[in-house]
Amino acid sequence: MPDGAMPVLEVRGLKTVFHTRGGSVHAVNDVSFHLMPGELLGVVGESGSGKSVTMMSLIGLLPSPPADVQSGQVLLGGQDLLKATPEALRKVRGARIGFVFQDPMTSLNPVFTVGSQIMAPLRKHMGLSKAQAEVRAVELLELVGIPDARRRLKSYPHQFSGGMRQRVMIAIALACDPEVLIADEPTTALDVTIQAQILELVKELRQKLGMAIVWITHDLGVVAEIADRVMVMYGGQVVEQAPVKELFRNPRHPYTRALLKTIPKLGGQRGERLQVIEGQPPILGSAPAACPFRARCAHAFARCEAENPVRRPVDGRPVGQGHDVACHWSPEGAEDPSQEAAHA
């Protein structure tokens, strides 16, 4: 990440609450991050950790009510998207921010041809004529590796396999040359050999197009393979953020550390028991006053109950720039001497 460069996307203090009949759910709590040009940011977390809701909040994709984006700033090239009118947001979605969703079957419209779905954003956002849009659509399908692209424009989504559909989704997301691509679990519904194809494609496209990507996943293996930087989310908060190699080499948050130990590896030792994280993820019924991970944390002490930790730098660089963690505990035990007693 070159110093001094401007981020393409910057999110500050985002808060999203769902008001439901059963009470409110604080799904996203004070999430901040930025995305540099050409960078791939991996967002990791379990279901309910707030990773998808964060990204949906950015571009106003959540129905309101029940969703309520309470505060924060989302700066795309200086423009605050949270203050933008619905009309202005529509111009951003699809044109400046592209989206790829998890399940390509449900996110493509089954009654329209693939061609018309790729051409829709081209005609809407870029004002291309039908003939121009068709030429561009063929280009896009070729770009994402769909053979016989011209003929395939007339196919319907059900005539494509899962991997091919996800390629079509990527083509649609790329149609207007977006500055930012947000990919929400784009390979989770796919088989491993097809996932490998899509990961390869994304690596290739990054080299060709150099766009910035946010990649949401629960699979640490996928993150290890493609991300430059990783943000770990838990209970609606960012608990740790670091460059990918640093995160895997030197995880600081007890959740990240435990998560890395629960997954068996293909290489390495076999036969020992899997480490578990006991208990369940929290129910986010109220605004957090304590650390969301405390109930499952092996290192929790009194302060974790009293005070929700804020992100602090690990490697001396400012929060968000290098390695940071939201935790009162530290593996060296240096930061808070009282915890040693509580821990023992």
């Binding site: 379990e46 279901s47 396999s161 991997g163 091919m164 088989d191 491993v192 050999t193 097809i194 996932q195 490998a196 194809q197 990961l199 390869e200 629960h218 699979d219 640490l220 293996g221 996928v222 993150v223 290890a224 393979e225 990918v244 190699k245 895997f248 080499r249 435990a258 998560l259 890395l260 629960t262 997954i263 068996p264 590896k265 293909l266 290489g267 076999r270 028991r273 899997l274 480490q275 578990v276 994280i277 006991e278 369940q280 993820p281």
Partner: protein
């Protein structure tokens, strides 16, 4: 690891499971989806056989056919001495307690209108004449065994998390003291931090109760952890069966090799060092599998013979069975034909 003296608890021979395709106005039988096409394997007592493959390869169908939740099209399935595939309905019913299943989606496989006690107790009602006091004692015992709090016996499934629901499903499968359990993607619907809890539970129960598992999964890392031997399926057939360490150290079948190489590893420092095999294209339709080897359309090492002759599953090394023309069958090697594998081998097979 099993020792060589144990005998197979489950013997599957030439199992076929076809689903008919009907089309046209008269719903004429126009073809079959060959979900499982002539597979044979053994599962030894007390071991865990992992069954891996991609969606649509037929692995779940194998699991269901083994317990005769489907009526197999052909083949024998011998479980503890009885051919399950040909048992009469009454005999099959008496056989059921010995073989049980844990399903993928604990949400869909538990009746939302029954309490946990009813769900776990239902097999006891069906198959045992326990008094209600004995039944309740057994239900509590099972809840303890899978780590569910007894106080929750009268709650409904919706009150439990995904991991806890899977524990209910496991308790139900254990109710009748089965010998053999088919675990069909038991952790696929669970979060990573919960998966380890359920896998550890399955392993503990196996140790304590001497269970035999068929563990069906697409998660190759987890299969490596839990299985003793692994069968790799592709398009309705078995490509390779090997002991787990041997398979992961050196897969012999090109599909097994590609599949293992495609798994992303949670270790960015190793990423560059790995050789990844990217398979081209998609899995062909099981209604119309290719001629010859069913992997020939995507195999990076395909030879002309692969498009003509179907390879058979043969011993490639001790305990390792592989269906591939590239791998020398052990007989040919013994007969001293090591150098000229290709053509000669295939002509032999055509004669078979």
């Amino acid at each position: 690891m099993r020792d060589t003296t144990t005998r197979p608890l489950v013997e599957v021979r030439n199992l076929k499971m076809y689903f008919p395709i009907h089309s046209g106005l008269m719903r004429k039988h126009t073809g079959d989806v060959k979900a499982v096409d002539d597979i044979s394997f053994d599962i030894y007592e007390g071991e865990t056989l992992g069954l891996v493959g991609e969606s649509g390869c037929g692995k779940s169908t194998v699991g269901r056919a083994l317990l005769r939740l489907y009526e197999p099209t052909a083949g024998q399935i011998t479980i503890a001495g009885d051919d399950v595939a040909s048992l009469s309905p009454e005999a099959l019913r008496r056989k059921r307690p010995t073989m049980q299943m844990v399903f993928q989606d604990p949400q869909a496989s538990l009746n939302p209108r029954m309490t946990v006690a009813d769900i776990i107790g239902e097999p006891l009602d069906e198959h045992s004449g326990l008094s209600s006091a004995d039944k309740l004692a057994r239900i509590y015992e099972l809840m303890d065994a899978v780590g569910l709090n007894r106080a929750f016996a009268n709650r409904y499934p919706h009150a439990f998390s995904g991991g806890q629901r899977q524990r209910i499903g496991i308790a139900r499968a254990l109710a009748l003291n089965p010998k053999f359990i088919v675990c069909d993607e038991p952790i696929a619907a669970l979060d990573v931090s919960i998966q380890a809890q359920v896998v550890n539970l399955l392993e503990d129960l196996q140790d304590r109760l001497g269970l035999t598992y068929l563990f069906i999964s697409h998660d190759l890392s987890m299969v490596r952890h839990i299985a003793d031997r692994v069968a790799v399926m592709y398009l309705g057939q078995i490509a390779e069966i090997s002991p787990v360490d041997a398979l992961y150290a050196r897969p012999l079948h090109p599909y097994a090799e590609a599949l293992l190489s495609a798994v992303p590893e949670p270790d960015p420092s190793r990423e560059g060092a790995r050789q990844r095999i990217i398979l081209k294209g998609d899995v062909p339709s099981p209604a119309n599998p290719p001629k010859g080897c069913n992997f020939c359309t995507r195999c990076p090492k395909v030879m002309p013979v692969c498009r003509e002759v179907e390879p058979r599953l043969q011993e490639a090394a001790p305990d390792r069975l592989v269906a591939c023309h590239l791998i020398h069958p052990i007989d040919a090697a013994r007969a001293g034909q090591t150098g000229q594998a290709g053509a000669q081998e295939h002509s032999q097979q055509q004669g078979v």
